[in-house]
Amino acid sequence: MEITLTLNGKKIMDQIEPDLTLFDFLRDHNCYSVKCGCETTNCGLCTVFFDDTPVLSCSMLAARAAGHRITTLEGLQDEAKEFIGFIADQGADQCGFCNPGFVMNTIALLRENPDPTDDEIRQFLSGNLCRCSGYEGQLRGIRAFLESRRGK
């Protein structure tokens, strides 16, 4: 089948199999930031924006994206750069494999709630698994970013 959608701001058209997942579609289109960690919607690594809502691309058909805007971390580099240095300062990037999904969902959090509490951060990101960092460093990084922004 043929679909048209906007991927990272660019309108694209493609012939796809009806059972193709959005995840496979995105990697086929060189969006390598999108990672698969579990195939069962438990890990959050494949988080992308469907219009402006974070979704798990491993469990969505590419066909559903027809006529919509899909955004991956490739399309949000500048918005990510605003805060990821603070995560890096904590060393909380670690192996990095969960980072794109975590960064995407943090962008979603900060758009929705520009000044979240620690508990709101934990709650919002609870679907983003990380096996390396123990999460505290990610939290410290986000908090340091919020504090620096407040100080400006």
Binding site: Y32, S33, V34, K35, G37, C38, E39, T40, N42, C43, L45, T72, L73, E74, Q77, A80, K81, I84, G85, I87, A88, D89, Q90, G91, A92, D93, Q94, C95, G96, F97, C98, N99, P100, V103, R122, Q123, L125, S126, G127, N128, L129, C130, R131, C132, S133, G134, Y135, E136, G137, L139
Partner: protein
């Protein structure tokens, strides 16, 4: 403690790859493999013990897009091990690439190579296998001398004498004793005899096992793999495939976590075999289900502790027996078990008169175990620390006080630790520091919250090693460039831990430059100097020392070049970081000028390599304390605070050391409260996804607080020891202790689930 003013050491520098990783750049195996690689899929056994009578692949080969299908008839009949370890290989040669006799659910029965994943999956479904199903050995307590043999074959080989034989389902066994254990036990006021059971756990690194293979421009097998051990993988592949080592090149890109799982060549051999057979690039990516049921998890163990003590709390004798379940194959079986005794008993060196440590490691028809952060120490420490907590509670003694009476202190000779001397040990300071930070005296008494919930506290101590002494080899090459910057080339594998950065900090300290002046490359068997790889907590301690040595050597070479430029002898040259100066003169040349000279009419190479091994493995130490809130109605345990103090010597990068500790603690919390690998009655693993195998989320861990007590390890680079593994060892004993405090029941098996707590049933 020796405290120096360092420029680059003991600084929280950002990881060199941090921004690439956080921006989602394509740096992992699957991101860089060409898209036209053949997709490799594995047909796996659904039986725990069976012989393949017939296997029909005719239809599978006809599926459009399928390039070939391979079965046991196609592979070499030479047994090998996938364990990534230094010579002499301790693990038995007990695997074939595909074995007609499958020994666990998930064992490989056929390899499919296809143009697309869809075609490969379709082919898998059309392969017809007729099995002769045999009765499996599933309970590791009945495996030794069982009439059913997991490895009855005649070509089973033990390359090392480790006390194993396939004719008894025995991977390894050993007995050792110091002093007269029975005599001291008979003389003790109290003898506790307890058995603790720890389950297998999956590392559950976010990136599953994966490997890409192709032929390079010289017709050699080029392997790009998510591995901690490029050189061991080369050896393992050469052995398994029957080709010379110099026909194989192994490199690793960035790795999405390892925790020991990737210290075994779990995925490499299959695509390599496909490339050899078809001549085409091939790629294998394990699904999460495959990683869960056919990975390389922790060894399940029963640890029996006999502890003899006096009424005053003096621990006089320890007698440990460990039974370890290696599963269907012996990877890391002979070695992990040793740590259950060697890295628990020495913590009580202060008062011990005698100790004994015996073990058996057995085969069963379950998933083969491997290396997992902690590597046996985790299991032994849960057992011993819980026994000590049981003793304290029985004597009505504060468990911190009983430890103060018995613990290892700096300068002591450790008979239970290869007679090494505790040259740097701040364990006592860690305990005092943690006690104060946690407010132990206030939180230790159990508090009923009045709403059906109880708050209680518990603690555990831990140790680990910093390498495998007299075995591991770390190496580094440092070279000068013509702009005055340096390249550091290593064979150790940064799996997210940050060793690329930590080792660059050491170069910066030695060469008096910035960390940004140092570019790091690793790891590639063609380009890197030999390194055992990143495991056994060794990279900072072993490879770090090699970096230090290489830098010293490089300075000498640079001085020689500078001497030529300044017309003097090289011992008149003083290395001053940015410049090299002729002594007692103002004449100097810059490092960049030396670099330029090295590329112009020159016969002194401005590059140096060094290797390092250590005769000792200095233990890091740690104390962890937890406060939990336990719901008496539901049995739910919530971790409120987990506080710990670590002595890893001088931390090279305190931010990264802290993250190691936090990450390890959270894994340990998962193992203690909910992670589990169980099998149904047919031997099929139940937890085949992250939905069933639940790893901790941000909501499961409470508040973490990690602080450090510094000791200075004289044999380590800049006083450093290790931190990667020890950090997983304290949650289990601390949480089990707190649950006892809240409920009055000792749970001697982990995980301790709400069901077990509500039923109030101890496990032994």
């Amino acid at each position: 403690m020796e405290q120096k003013n360092y420029k680059a050491i003991n600084k929280s520098v950002r990881k060199k790859d941090a921004m690439q990783l956080l921006l989602g750049k394509p740096v992992y195996t699957e991101d860089i493999a060409p898209k036209d690689a053949l997709v490799v899929k594995l047909l796996r056994s659904s039986h725990a013990n069976a012989i393949v009578n017939t296997i029909d692949t005719k239809v599978a080969k006809l599926v459009p897009g399928v390039v070939d299908v391979f079965t046991w008839e196609d592979v070499p009949n030479e047994r090998y091990t996938t364990a990534g370890q230094t010579y002499p290989e301790a693990s038995p040669y007990d695997r074939l690439i595909i074995d007609r006799h499958v020994r666990c659910v998930g064992d490989v029965v056929a390899i499919v190579a296809a143009e697309s994943e869809k075609a490969a999956n379709k082919a898998l479904k059309t392969i017809k296998v007729n099995y002769e199903v045999l009765e499996p050995v599933l309970d590791f307590r009945t495996a030794k001398d069982n009439s059913i043999l997991v490895h009855p074959e005649d070509n089973w080989v033990a390359p090392c004498e480790v006390g194993g034989t396939n004719k008894r389902n025995l991977v390894a066994s050993e007995n050792s004793e110091y002093g007269d254990v029975d005599k001291v036990l008979a003389d003790c006021d109290i003898v506790l005899d307890r058995t603790y059971h720890t389950k297998a756990y999956n590392q559950a690194m976010m990136e599953t096992f994966r490997t890409y293979t192709s032929y390079d421009r010289y017709g050699r097998l080029h392997v790009i793999s998510s591995t901690q051990i490029v050189f061991h993988v080369r050896r393992i592949l050469a052995h398994a495939l029957g080709i010379p080592k110099n026909m194989i090149r192994v490199e690793k890109p960035r790795i999405g976590g390892g925790f020991g799982a990737k210290q075994t060549a779990v995925s490499e051999v299959y695509p390599a075999f496909v490339t050899m057979k078809t001549g085409r690039p091939a790629m294998l990516v394990f699904t999460r289900e495959e990683a869960q049921i056919a990975g390389s998890p922790r060894h399940e163990m029963d640890v029996r502790v006999k502890l003899g003590a006096n009424k005053d709390g003096k621990i006089r004798v320890l007698d440990l027996y460990t039974l370890s379940n290696s599963g269907a194959y012996g990877e890391h079986g002979p070695t992990t078990v040793g740590l259950s005794g060697h890295k628990s008993i020495p913590m009580y060196t202060g008062s011990l008169e005698a100790h004994r440590f015996n073990y058996d490691v057995v085969y069963t028809n379950t998933m083969a175990a491997g290396a997992y952060r902690g590597y046996g120490a985790t299991q032994g420490i849960f057992a011993l620390e819980t026994t000590v907590n049981e003793l304290a509670e029985m004597l009505n003694m504060d468990p911190t006080v009983i430890r103060e009476k018995n613990m290892l202190k700096e300068g002591m000779l450790m008979p239970a630790y290869y007679n090494e001397i505790a040259s740097a040990c701040a364990l006592d300071k860690c305990l005092a520091h943690c006690k104060e930070m946690f407010e132990w005296d206030k939180r230790y008494p159990v508090r009923d919250m009045g709403n059906g919930k109880v708050r209680a506290a518990g603690l555990g101590m831990a140790m680990q090693g910093s390498c495998i002494s007299n075995l591991d080899v770390g190496s580094a090459t440092v070279k000068l460039n013509d702009d005055g910057s340096y390249n550091l080339v290593i064979g150790a594998a940064d799996m997210g831990t940050g060793c690329d950065t930590i080792l660059a900090q050491m170069v910066a300290e030695c060469m008096d430059c910035t960390v940004d002046d140092v570019t790091v490359f690793g790891a590639d068997t063609d380009a890197s100097p030999y390194d055992s790889g990143s495991y056994a907590s060794s990279t900072t301690y072993i490879t770090g020392k090699a970096v230090e040595k290489a830098c010293e050597e490089l300075k000498k070479k640079m001085s020689e070049v500078a001497a030529g430029l300044l017309d003097c002898s090289s011992d008149e040259i003083v290395f001053e970081g940015k410049t090299l100066r002729k002594i007692n003169s103002g004449e100097s040349v810059t490092v960049a000028e030396v670099g330029v000279k090295s590329q112009l009419n020159n016969d002194i190479i401005t590059q140096a390599s060094a290797s390092h091994s250590s005769p000792v493995s200095p233990p890091p130490y740690m104390v962890g304390m937890v406060e939990i809130e336990l719901d008496k109605m539901t049995g739910e345990v919530k971790v409120i605070d987990f506080m710990s103090v670590v002595d890893c010597g001088i931390p090279i990068n305190p931010a990264l050391a802290r993250i190691q500790a936090e990450g390890g603690i959270v894994q340990g919390i998962g193992h203690t409260l909910f992670e589990n690998i169980t099998y149904n009655e047919m031997g099929r693993p139940v937890e085949s996804s992250l939905m069933q195998y639940r790893i901790p989320t941000r909501l499961d861990m409470g508040n973490l607080k990690v602080e450090f007590e510094h000791s200075f390890e004289p044999t380590g680079p800049f006083g450093a020891k290790s931190i990667g593994e020890i950090v997983i060892n304290t949650p289990a004993p601390a949480i089990a202790h707190a649950i006892y405090r809240a409920t009055g029941v000792w749970h001697r098996e982990i995980p301790i689930t709400p069901e077990q707590i509500v039923m109030g049933k101890p496990d032994n």
